[in-house]
């Protein structure tokens, strides 16, 4: 086991995938000589050469579109989008080409792209550097969407994503880049949990709290704080956002009868909306209360001095828990 930051774990995952498969090439802005603005690709150009770690001109549509051409030739491109808010110029190539080519060609052309996206807020950045655009891609058929919350998952899930024959959006919780954790670099991929599997990260009995990416550690803090108050939270890390692995979630909600969903992305048609609908359909007779969403507001990402009011934090999660339990909460007196 090695103690690595999340950044180092992703770097190690890229290195391992490149060693195992000569068809893996990295593409992106500033990923070569600089090693990426977050240093995720640090040292890889030096070790693998500029033909496999490609500093591209500044054009996101072209990064994705030329990766499509490379995939036609049998490569496995791993594209870095420098920041979440920069992905939109590449949106058309992702949804109209990457996502559809396998179906369009009756399975004759595969698009094994991995698109790495540092996402989410909490790092005090200017506009376009703190967004959570995952729902757009979850809504797009043909893509798989995943997000790792810790170094071990980041290492394993990235390797699984690169090995996957479907295109995968890999959302990296950038405010957790410096979180350290133990990583088994020699772990056998075939024995690792499936890329699409969700996981109970803290067992509990009263309320199911589900999230992914950057908010998993906040949710774990919430579980500790709630325990001090005599409330037992079961925290689930979704890991895969498309498809969502509902098995553990359904099983949990059948036990607790109460569900809180939390994410940084805005509320309307976010992951929380889909999960709330799906769990209600699947577990209606087990629910003691309507599922509660604790999310970012339906606003463009605010200036960083205001982001703490937008991002769900420990207290907002606990308020959501109070709401689902019918305890005094921010809406007391307003709702039944």
């Amino acid at each position: 086991m090695s103690s690595l930051t999340l950044t180092q774990a992703i770097n190690a995952g890229l290195r391992k995938s490149m060693e195992e498969d000569p068809k893996v090439v990295l593409m992106g802005e500033d990923i070569g000589t600089l090693g990426g603005v977050f240093r995720v690709t640090d040292g890889l150009m030096k070790d693998f050469g500029s033909h496999r770690v490609i500093d591209t001109p500044l054009a996101e549509s072209a990064i994705i579109g030329t990766a499509v051409g490379l995939a036609y030739r049998g490569f496995r491109p791993v594209c870095e989008i420098q920041f979440d808010g920069f992905i939109y110029p590449g949106f058309d190539q992702i949804v109209s080409q990457v996502a559809k080519l396998h179906m369009r060609t009756h399975g004759q052309v595969r698009m094994p792209l991995t698109i790495r996206v540092p996402f989410g807020g909490g790092i005090g950045s200017p506009e376009h550097h703190s967004e959570s655009p995952e729902a757009y891609f979850v809504h797009t058929s043909g893509l798989r969407v995943i997000s790792a919350s810790n170094p071990q998952d980041a290492y394993t899930m990235l390797r699984q994503a690169i090995a996957c024959d479907d295109p995968v959006l890999f959302f990296e919780p950038k405010r957790r880049y410096h979180t350290k954790g133990e990583v088994d670099l020699d772990a056998d991929l075939s024995r690792a949990p499936a890329m699409g599997a969700s996981r109970i990260v803290s067992a509990g009995t009263d309320v199911t709290l589900v999230t992914y990416g950057p908010l998993v550690s906040t949710a774990l803090d919430a579980a500790k704080a709630a325990a001090d108050d005599g409330i037992s939270l079961e925290v689930i890390d979704l890991r895969s956002l498309s498809p969502i692995d509902y098995g553990p979630l359904e099983e949990s909600v059948r036990r607790t009868g109460r569900l809180v969903i939390t994410h940084e992305a805005s509320e309307t048609l976010g992951l929380g909306a889909e999960i709330s609908a799906a769990v209600t359909e699947r577990c209606f007779n087990y629910l003691e209360a309507a599922p509660v969403r604790v999310t970012g507001f339906d606003i463009p990402y605010p200036p960083s001095k205001l982001e703490k009011h937008h991002l769900p934090d420990l207290d907002r999660m606990l308020d959501g828990v109070d709401r689902v339990l019918g305890r005094p909460n921010s809406l007391s007196g307003l709702e039944g």
């Binding site: 001109p57 190539q93 996957c164 692995d245």
Partner: protein, 380 residues
């Protein structure tokens, strides 16, 4: 009010390379002539036959659309020389990234006629295996394929191969950001890609002058990409220009850009009505520059195409059209459950659940009449 000013852009301008003039007389172009010095009368007759055949395909497909056998068809009438001249300059392992209008190119590459039609009938999203024919599927998003061609060519460099990729695009596409980005990437990585732009003067109803105030070929040098402007209705000149670009690509010279100046004699698609936006004078002007008539006149002028040979070419084209019609009208509809196929390469829990549900749902209609069919029955 902001009003775009559109150049007419309709008449050929100086600087357009040509080897056969509109009246069928030979033109001495020092730059192009050596590139096609090996082309003999027999080959030229073959190009003539190619053009006659794809025009016949175009005619048959248009008729099939009118008869309700195809959902839509994008005519290539008038652009036969551009399609034939370019494809005949390529090797079979050169990879083609076409638009939706290169159906003549697809046929000449070897794609099955019924397969080509399946896309336009609404039966399939693609009519051939891209890997088998080294030709991507018809691209509908304007300009998107130029990036794919560039990426493929970057892959050729990585693989140390001496083949090339070619992106077909139209004059309308040159306004798209993807085309700009692809030329930037192609130049930066010296990718062996040919940008083959058929300037057919119209992007649905918008004249080329709205897309570009100066000749389109003039843009490429700004990216560091050599370009050539060629008479797109002159099959020999198009062949020569494409050979020029291909030779550059194969010898490590990087990307090239060709503007083939041609004219879309038909509608944008069978759903379009060009009489709403262009006059007959323009059409007549271009009819006089017809790509097939000029090569025929050129060959006849040399005593190389007699009535019997001409009839034989027409008969073979008719046979192709008959095969096309047969393949089209006998094409089975895809199976209902195939709607779920190939979205992913492996299982996907959410989609699998929907598939199972829909299968049960369909099975529930066994022996009963659906409300939809009752409603349709009552209306007919």
């Amino acid at each position: 009010m902001l009003e775009a000013s559109a150049n007419s852009g309709a008449s050929p301008q100086p600087g357009i390379h040509q080897l056969i003039a509109a009246d069928g007389t030979g033109v001495d172009d020092e730059e192009l002539a050596p590139l096609v010095a090996d082309v003999d009368d027999e080959q030229l007759i073959q190009f003539y036959a190619d053009m006659v055949t794809i025009r016949r395909i175009d005619m048959e497909a248009t008729a099939l659309q009118r008869q309700g056998q195809l959902a839509l068809w994008p005519p290539m009438l008038g652009q036969e020389a551009a399609q034939v001249g370019s494809i005949r300059a390529l090797d079979q392992d050169d990879f083609i990234f076409p638009t939706y209008r290169e159906n003549g190119v697809a046929f000449l590459r070897g794609a099955d006629l019924a397969g080509i039609m399946s896309t336009w009938r609404g039966s399939a999203n693609t009519g051939w295996d891209p890997h088998k024919f080294n030709m991507a599927t018809p691209q509908i998003i304007i300009g998107a394929q130029t990036l794919h061609a560039t990426g493929y060519a970057m892959g050729l460099v990585l693989d140390g191969r001496e083949t090339l990729s070619i992106a077909y695009l139209g004059d309308g596409a040159t306004s798209q950001g993807d085309v700009h980005e692809s030329m930037v990437f192609a130049a930066s990585f010296q990718a062996p890609v040919i940008f083959f732009c058929q300037n057919n003067h119209w992007a649905i109803s918008e004249p080329v002058g709205l897309q570009a105030h100066t000749p389109i070929a003039g843009r490429a040098p700004g990216y560091g990409i050599p370009s050539m402007r060629v008479d797109g209705n002159d099959v020999l000149a198009v062949l020569a220009a494409t050979r020029w670009a291909a030779a550059r690509a194969r010898s490590g010279g990087g990307p090239s850009f060709i503007e083939a100046v041609t004219y879309r004699m038909g509608a944008h698609t069978t759903a379009d009505d060009p009489t709403r936006y262009r006059g007959v004078t323009e059409l007549e002007e271009w009819a006089a520059k017809d790509p097939i008539a000029r090569v025929k006149a050129f060959l006849q002028g040399r005593g190389k195409l007699d009535a019997a040979a001409e009839a034989e070419v027409a008969a073979r084209a008719n046979a192709v059209a008959a095969e096309l019609r047969e393949g089209c009208i006998n094409m089975p509809d895809p199976a209902p459950m195939s709607v779920f196929d190939n979205v992913y390469t492996t299982e996907h829990a959410i989609l699998d659940r929907q598939r199972d549900h829909y299968e049960r749902y369909l099975a529930g209609f066994a022996g009963t009449e659906s409300a939809t069919s009752k409603l349709e029955g009552s209306r007919s």
